[in-house]
């Protein structure tokens, strides 16, 4: 089921009459059978978008299409969606079996078929043995699986997940990530999920939408977005450790760093925002094209990585380098970075400028 948002806008008006635009003119087309992550900092309108797709919040303007059906004015129960809530909202007084069966009780399904579907779904999400338990007797990960089974058992057109992993501990989160991906692959259902965790979104989505203040920043595949961020916000939001950003001048077609000519660029003179990811730095060899010698301020060994701190234009920078490249008492290092991994952003609009 292809899902299309056209000009979707939501404006909340509070008691004093002030308007807050939670979602601003969203235009997204989600291809059938893909897993799409809605990503953004808290308060950026991602959950509002999800609830508008679910039908629990009415949009101020704009349209929502499921395939060719315009569902904008359709009530939530007629849209045929499955929704997994952040804290799962499992009915505490029902067993797992009854929780999963509940959506089917409201549909035209024969009893035998309904029971079969519950069992199949429970096996698919891996809780086949827990059907007699109450939600309170389950671990967080198991509750999550029940919630997904309950959402999927009625064979919805679209599956929506609201911060599905935020209530789980770190290890379970990694495991459930893969589970969600596997369940989505096996059922082939168009899935949208909301998260504020960029790593989570990057690891399971086919495509991601990054939102900020209700405005769509970029819509692309995770790796594509990581390697080619559309603007400074996306570049800063993705990646851990975060991208290094600094102000730098371009003089006579050269990007100046620490008053040295660092890189030749075909751009007019002026001040620009520059982004360089810590892991894209390398210790320079003799034949490196662009290199710069820096004073090492600090060295951190974090497991397999070595992180060094240094200054570019008096702004603190971080680089992940090979542990062989530095010793504990290294004072200086010569670094290099590939030209296409240096992102130059317009100072005013924050948009990336193509310079390669």
């Amino acid at each position: 089921m292809e899902l299309r948002l056209e000009n979707l806008t939501k404006i909340f008006t509070n008691k004093t009459g002030t308007d807050t635009t939670a979602v601003d003119k969203l235009d997204i087309t989600i291809e059938s059978g893909t897993l799409v992550g809605l990503l953004g900092p808290s308060g950026c309108g991602k959950s509002t978008t999800l609830f508008m797709i679910a039908g629990l919040i009415k949009p101020t303007s704009g349209k929502i299409f499921f395939g060719d059906d315009n569902v904008t004015r359709l009530a939530a129960e007629k849209r045929g969606i499955g929704l997994v809530f952040q804290n799962y909202a499992l009915y505490p007084h029902m067993t797992v079996y009854k929780n999963i069966l509940f959506p089917l009780e409201n549909m035209d399904v024969a009893r035998d078929e309904a029971i079969q579907r519950v069992k199949d779904m429970a096996n698919l999400v891996g809780i086949g043995e827990l059907l007699d338990r109450k939600p309170a007797q389950l671990s967080g990960g198991q509750q999550q699986r029940v919630a997904i089974a309950r959402a999927l058992v009625k064979r919805p057109r679209v599956l929506l997940l609201d911060e599905p992993l935020s209530n789980l501990d770190a290890r379970l989160r990694l495991q459930m990530r893969e589970e969600i991906k596997r369940i989505q692959r096996e059922t082939g259902i168009t899935t949208i999920f909301v998260t504020h965790d960029q790593e989570e979104a990057m690891s399971i989505s086919d495509k991601m939408v990054v939102l900020d203040f209700g405005v769509q920043q970029q819509y692309a595949g995770p790796q594509e977005m990581y390697n080619n961020p559309g603007n400074l916000f996306v570049a800063k939001f993705l990646g851990n450790p975060p991208i290094n950003t600094l102000e730098s001048k371009i003089k006579n077609k050269y990007l100046m760093i620490n008053d040295q000519k660092f890189m030749k660029v075909d751009l007019p003179d002026g001040t620009y925002d520059i982004g360089m990811r810590p892991e894209n730095f390398r210790a320079a060899s003799e034949d490196s094209e662009m290199k710069i010698e820096v004073d090492i301020k600090e060295i951190f060994h974090i497991g397999r990585d070595t992180m060094i701190h240094f200054d570019f234009n008096d702004q603190n920078m971080r680089a992940l380098v090979d542990s062989d490249a530095v010793t504990a008492d290294s004072k200086k290092i010569t670094l290099t970075i590939k030209k296409e991994r240096v992102y130059i952003f317009d100072k005013k609009t924050g948009k990336v400028i193509d310079h390669a």
């Binding site: 039908g55 129960e77 969606i81 809530f85 909202a89 409201n106």
Partner: protein
């Protein structure tokens, strides 16, 4: 002017702060003094002794006003011919007072040419008014919860009976059901039908009494149900609405189970309360429970007990036997309810 008040406020707060500091210093000094002489309650006495010490005010009051009377009821029921004024008895009996109560006129068996007995009246009220009022309260609180405009207004209206005097409401109800120009007779065009006055029937008087007791007990139930419904996580309803659950199923499968502990609490307390019905009957039918010119009695068990307490103190043993019968009925019914609720109440 505003500055002046600010200054006063500040000086009061400073003063309170200093006082608190001084108290703390004093406490610390006292503590050190007690520790030095090994007198500290916290370390000197074992836990249960401290618990008893702190519980003692409540225990003393309970002992005087609850346990001692209960003990006395058991004592009195064994006496024969007890005379309160000179505190003498003529003998002892085990079942004698119970047999007297059971054989008494209008306790279990009706008196001649009279309808209704204390047991029958009380049981009718318990088994009719309690279920009806619980169902009504549930529906009203769900309805109140779902309306947005004038919510506070309606909540106040439904809560009014709770803050109004029972006797006053009783008088109003009696006036409504008057045969001569009463509101009910006028609305339904019943002429001069006698509901509770001279010439009325047992069933019509019972109808008015049950109507009155339901109305009087609705307010508290609605308040309890409404607060517990408002405490239910909205996400359950969102999840149910996404699954296209019809309203009545949301009510029966989500709302009711989720507030079932409260429903059970209300059920147990209302059954007990209904067994102890007294004011309602007095308000409508007077202290004897038998208006003039009727062939029935509206007396309840508690009224029966009061009748013998009032009788000069020489029939206290019968009153005690009556209370113990009431006590055992309530006890058995409550145990039955607890047993039956085990599967249906979800904590």
């Amino acid at each position: 002017m505003r500055n002046f008040f600010k200054k006063i406020k500040k000086s009061i707060k400073d003063f309170l702060w200093d006082v608190r500091k001084k108290i703390k210093i004093r406490q610390r000094k006292i503590g050190a003094y007690l520790d030095e002489r090994n007198l500290n309650i916290a370390t000197k006495f074992p836990g249960w002794a401290k618990a008893l010490l702190y519980l003692s005010p409540a225990l003393i009051v309970l002992a005087i006003f609850t346990f001692w009377p209960i003990f006395n009821a058991f004592r009195l029921v064994l006496y024969e011919g007890y005379n309160m004024t000179d505190n003498t008895i003529t003998g002892y009996t085990i079942f004698g007072n119970f047999i007297k109560v059971i054989n008494d006129e209008s306790f279990i068996f009706p008196a001649q040419h009279t309808q209704g007995t204390a047991i029958v009246n009380t049981l009718l009220i318990v088994f009719i008014s309690v279920p009806i009022s619980i169902f009504l309260a549930l529906f009203i609180s769900v309805a109140l919860n779902s309306i947005k405009p004038l919510k506070g207004f309606f909540q106040t209206i439904y809560f009014l009976p709770y803050v109004t005097n029972t006797i006053a409401i009783g008088l109003v109800i009696a006036y409504m059901f008057k045969s001569d120009g009463g509101l009910i007779n006028q609305i339904f065009g019943l002429g001069e039908f006698s509901w509770i006055e001279r010439g009325s029937e047992h069933w019509s008087a019972m109808f008015v009494l049950i109507f009155y007791s339901i109305w009087g007990s609705l307010a508290f139930k609605i308040m309890v149900f409404l607060t517990s419904i408002q405490g239910i996580d909205k996400q359950y309803y969102q999840a149910a609405s996404i699954d296209a659950t019809p309203r009545r199923r949301i009510f029966s499968r989500i709302t009711v189970p989720l507030i079932s502990p409260m429903i059970f609490y209300i059920l147990v307390t209302s059954v007990i309360g209904a067994f102890k019905i007294y004011n309602h009957i007095v308000a409508l039918f007077g202290v004897t429970g038998k208006p003039e010119g009727v062939n029935f009695t509206m007396q309840s068990i508690v009224m029966y007990i009061y009748k013998y307490i009032d009788g000069g103190g020489n029939n206290l043993s019968i009153a005690a036997a009556g209370s113990l019968i009431l006590f055992s009925i309530i006890l058995i019914l409550t145990l039955v309810q607890m047993q039956a609720s085990k599967k249906r109440v979800h904590y």
